[in-house]
């Protein structure tokens, strides 16, 4: 087919940050298919220089409001590794609850508010208030509940307050935790399962597309790896977090203010589907049931299924938070002060699975406990090359469809990755030409 096609979606909507989709086909031959990243640069690594160790997470949190908990958590772990700060078991359990809460919140926001309108052929969640009010109300309740986890344990959902190097400046009460657990086990789980039933009924709207790639996530043999673990590549096996640069291999491309990444292939995927593919055996039984119901089986090579994997994780996070609260209540909440006495000064690297995938922070501290060097590697940046590769395979496959249908599928593809562009361009600014 000798078709000419030019698609230029300026500022893709319902994603975090500014990106353009550019596709160019001449005489049926694909010349260009890429996601251009046009977000302004932020210079965070430079701003961190000389900052005290207890200020660092406050600043890195501001890389992204949507991923603020993930940035703080990874930042704290990197600082603790660099300064030799041990944390208590109680702190670790509370942090795991926070990571669950953030994953739960962000996945619900993406799957039910940003991606779902595509499955129902509307431009935003707002018209659904009239046509699907029960679903919107359930989704709103879920988002509120997820934010409540953050508010109870860390003081605030956007830019958490009480998590600091070495522990917490304020602890939740047992009463708050019991109430939270009851809400999660009751209406929370009910709403999650209800929205999943709705999603299952829309399975036919999810485009069928396959492209096997390299899947990279944290892996933890004891649990579904979110808070901590080692790097796992579906191609290369397990790698120590300290060796992350061997995996990420960042490189600059002219069409993106965010760096790209590649390991064993031209690109790799991080995020909910990569986690599911690498760690599905470690999901809670309830989450496994939901995956089966939604037709998600590992390994899955359809990037549009990221949204489905996110809802499977919502159920896992709710269920596991209930259990973690039980563990805390059995132990009783101990009034612990944060451990902020450094035992050494040097380099520390940490990784956390944040909603969009594996996040790395790498800090070097001087003897005054101030940052000398900082590097943050963001999930969306790691996914960008993979999105371009998906588009390059997808466009020729659907070239006989009308331009509107192709555009919609491309927008849905970019949206499926739930890209967080503010995060991804925390440091780079490259001029791009159309």
């Amino acid at each position: 087919m000798s078709r000419d096609l030019s698609i230029n979606v300026h500022h893709v909507t319902r994603v975090e940050g500014h990106g353009n989709i550019v596709v160019d086909v001449k005489n049926g031959v694909l010349k260009k298919a890429e996601l251009d990243i046009v977000e302004p640069p932020r210079f965070f690594e430079a701003m961190l220089k000389g900052r005290n160790f207890h200020e660092v997470a406050i600043i890195t949190s501001r890389i992204c409001g949507i991923c603020s908990l993930g940035h703080q958590m990874t930042s704290l772990k990197a600082t603790e590794a660099a300064l030799g700060l041990e944390i208590s078991e109680q702190t670790e359990i509370l942090r795991k609850i926070l990571v669950h809460g953030a994953t739960f919140q962000s996945n619900v926001l993406h799957a039910l508010f940003l991606a779902a309108p595509d499955f129902l052929n509307v431009g935003s969640v707002f018209p659904l208030v009239n046509t699907h009010k029960d679903v919107v109300l359930a989704a709103l309740r879920l988002k509120r509940l997820a934010n409540e986890i953050a508010e109870i344990v860390s003081g605030r959902a956007v830019h958490p307050i009480s998590i600091v190097p070495g522990g917490f400046t304020k602890l939740p009460t047992e009463k708050e935790l019991i109430e939270l657990k009851d809400k999660l086990a009751g209406q929370g789980m009910k709403d999650a399962l209800f929205t999943i039933d709705v999603l299952a009924s829309l399975a036919g709207e999810i485009p069928r597309f396959e492209r096997e790639t390299e899947y990279i996530s944290l892996y933890n043999e004891k649990e579904y790896g979110l808070y901590d673990g080692v790097i796992c590549s579906s191609d290369a096996g397990l790698i120590r977090v300290e060796e992350y640069e061997r995996v990420t291999n960042e490189f600059i491309v002219p069409h993106s203010t965010s760096k790209h990444a590649r390991f064993n292939r031209s690109s790799y995927m991080v995020g909910a589907l990569a986690r599911f593919n690498n760690s599905h055996k470690l999901l809670r039984p309830k989450a496994k049931e939901v995956a089966a119901k939604l037709g998600l089986e590992a390994p899955n090579h359809n990037p549009y299924m990221i949204t489905v994997a996110q809802m499977v994780e919502v159920v896992h996070c709710i269920d596991d938070t209930i259990e973690l609260i039980d563990v805390l209540l059995d132990r009783g909440i101990k009034d612990e002060k944060p451990n902020q006495e450094p035992t050494r000064f040097g380099r520390g690297v940490a990784a956390t699975e944040v909603p969009r995938g594996i996040l790395f922070h790498d800090y070097t501290y001087n003897r005054k406990g101030q940052i000398e060097k900082a590097n943050c590697i963001i999930p969306t940046g790691q996914n960008l090359a993979n999105i371009d590769d998906d588009m390059k395979k997808l466009v020729p496959e659907i070239l006989n469809e009308p331009k509107e249908a192709i555009t919609k599928k491309l927008e849905m593809l970019v949206r499926a990755y739930d890209p967080c562009i503010s995060c991804s361009v925390h440091l780079l600014d490259v001029k791009f030409e159309e």
Binding site: R14, P40, I59, S124, V125, V136, N147, R156, H159, D429
Partner: protein, 258 residues
Amino acid sequence: MSQSESNGKPKVAFFDFTSCEGCQLNKLNFENELLDILELVDIVEFREAMDDKAEEYDIAFIEGSISTPTCIERIYDIRRRAKVLVALGQCAVSGGINAMKNAMPMEEVQETVYGNDKYLFPSIPAMPVSAVVKVDYEVRGCPMSPPEYLHVLKSLILGRKPEIKDYAVCVECKLKENECVLEKGMFCLGPITRAGCDAICPSNGQYCTGCRGPVSNINKNGAVEMLKRYGFSTEEALKRMKMFNTNELEKEIKWGKE
């Protein structure tokens, strides 16, 4: 949302510039009030949540700093089409945390991040929205305070002037009966920072980072003297005060307004 043409509801739009989009997210975090808000206004543009675009707005909320030439073009265009323009969150109000880089030599900032490629990546200082266009109202904070945002939105819908606080966080902190953070031996910017957050950080065991900017009649030298009394060096005190307030405290940086 084409019904806005005839139903008489104010047309509200949200725009984001250089920022973390956390303030936008905070607007979606009004899960309990969101549907009520939608009864009162028509959201005509909100790229983070919807596809639609509009030609004009009764109220435009702006998040983020102005930090590239493209930002300047966009904000002029939005101002032309907006009856009322509100700066939302500290990045828009003062440059916020983005302005930290303004206090460092641009050459050094670019070198730290880009190394030898620094000349490839031009950048301008991070400016508040008010440095470029007229701003009618401000909602401060990093992130913006949700109740304050609701107050401003409700006031504007009712055609009233929103009430903006201009006293120190200490006042709200005392009302919460918190133990004084400075007395606990920690650093704190509560005495010089504008209230409106309900002292949320001290109430959660943290110190005030000054994320809402200084009160209008700030005594910078007095604040430094106070922090010195509590054992912080002048250099340390100023560095910490600048985390969210570089543009206010760096008098040498001016944006063509006095």
